[in-house]
């Protein structure tokens, strides 16, 4: 089983920088990173225009279903999914086996350009992911307490007081 994903400011800034660059380089409207469980991690571009929480959950569901299909026919995974619409298109790719990179683009870009730019950005995101995982292991093995170790019963009860 994978460990929980923990993201600190440093990694968040690095990932955001990669996504912002990808958005410009690929001429995309939105670039978005989620984990395979449907948790959103970071985004760039016109993300105020969409319901990002739903986008994250549906993307993860989509990838999970496609993974299931891949296994059925003996493939390890389908690493790229592409949905073509009348105006907007969605390019989805798997990064480092646990993250999903989503690029939404229209006629100002092209599938070829997006694929090309995604390849480079995915490698960079994977680098940050490796660092995040190493850090999580380090923190885990150093016996450092999680920020939730000090949560009291009262804290939890307070959430449900209304």
């Amino acid at each position: 089983m994978d460990t929980s994903l923990v993201m600190y400011q440093e990694e968040f800034d690095r990932i955001s920088a990669v996504l912002n660059r990808l958005r410009v380089d690929a001429n995309a409207k939105i670039v978005f990173l989620v984990d395979k469980n449907g948790q959103q991690i970071a985004g760039a571009g016109e993300i105020d225009q969409v319901d990002t929480t739903s986008l994250a959950s549906l993307t993860a569901g989509n990838v999970a279903a496609t993974d299931g299909l891949a296994k059925l026919i003996g493939e390890k995974e389908f690493s790229i999914l592409f949905h073509e619409g009348k105006k907007d298109n969605i390019h989805i790719s798997i990064v480092g086996q646990r993250l999903i990179l989503v690029v939404i683009f229209d006629e100002r870009s092209s599938l070829g350009l997006v694929r090309l730019r995604v390849r480079k950005a995915a490698a960079e995101v994977e680098g940050v992911l490796t660092q995040m995982e190493a850090k999580a292991r380090e923190v885990g093995s150093s016996g450092q307490e999680s920020p939730f170790a000090e949560i009291t019963d009262e804290d939890i009860d307070a959430l449900f007081s209304e």
Partner: protein
């Protein structure tokens, strides 16, 4: 599997409603959606068939407020209950932090409850989890129906590890928030231990 985001000071957890077909999983989520403040909730997404049977999942994001400066965001999912959707159920359990099992109180559905519980154990295991270590609550739904089996008998049949259990009438909201709170609390306690 929770996701702790120090940059956004958010903690995201995933809770899955499990149970046999037509037991009321989606109804639980619909009631929570209807009764939550607009600023607390996101969109309720239902991937359902034309006859309103869950095809893949329902999804409801819910903000419960802050703990120690961290926003707690709960992602509630249901699974499709019908037996032949097992592959989908397995996928939805991926990365789960807590499970609410919704049992149908009608006598005729007792076997379906038992089978679904067994299916939950198997599917969790395939995702690398053990139900005995998982935050878990049991809900006896449809208490208003005339053929409802006694709660004691249901508990004997379905209790897995002495988990908290709640009587519910999800269509009217009875027991719905109690169930959610109980599983959410366990998830937060669990986080504290990790």
């Amino acid at each position: 599997m929770s996701f702790i985001n120090y940059a956004a000071r958010e903690i995201n957890v995933k809770i899955v409603y499990y149970g046999p077909g037509l037991c009321g999983k989606t109804t639980n989520l619909q009631y929570i959606y209807e009764r939550s403040n607009p600023q607390q909730k996101g969109k309720l997404i239902s991937l359902a068939t034309e006859t309103d049977r869950t095809l893949f999942f329902d999804f409801l994001p819910l903000d419960l407020g802050s703990v120690r400066g961290f926003k707690t965001r709960f992602h509630l999912y249901t699974v499709p209950g019908q037996i032949f959707y097992d592959a989908s159920r397995k996928l939805i359990l991926k990365g789960v932090d807590g499970v609410a099992f919704v049992a149908d109180s009608q006598e005729a559905r007792m076997d379906a409850n038992v089978e679904s519980l067994h299916n939950l154990v198997v599917n969790l295991r395939e995702n690398g989890f053990e139900l005995k270590n998982m935050p878990y609550v049991l809900q006896f739904n449809k208490r208003d129906l005339p053929t409802a089996v006694g709660v004691d008998e249901m508990y004997r049949k379905l209790n897995f590890k002495g988990e908290p259990s709640f009587e519910a009438i999800a269509t009217e909201g009875m027991g719905v928030f109690e169930t959610l709170k109980a599983v959410a609390k366990q998830v937060l306690y669990d986080l504290r231990r990790k």
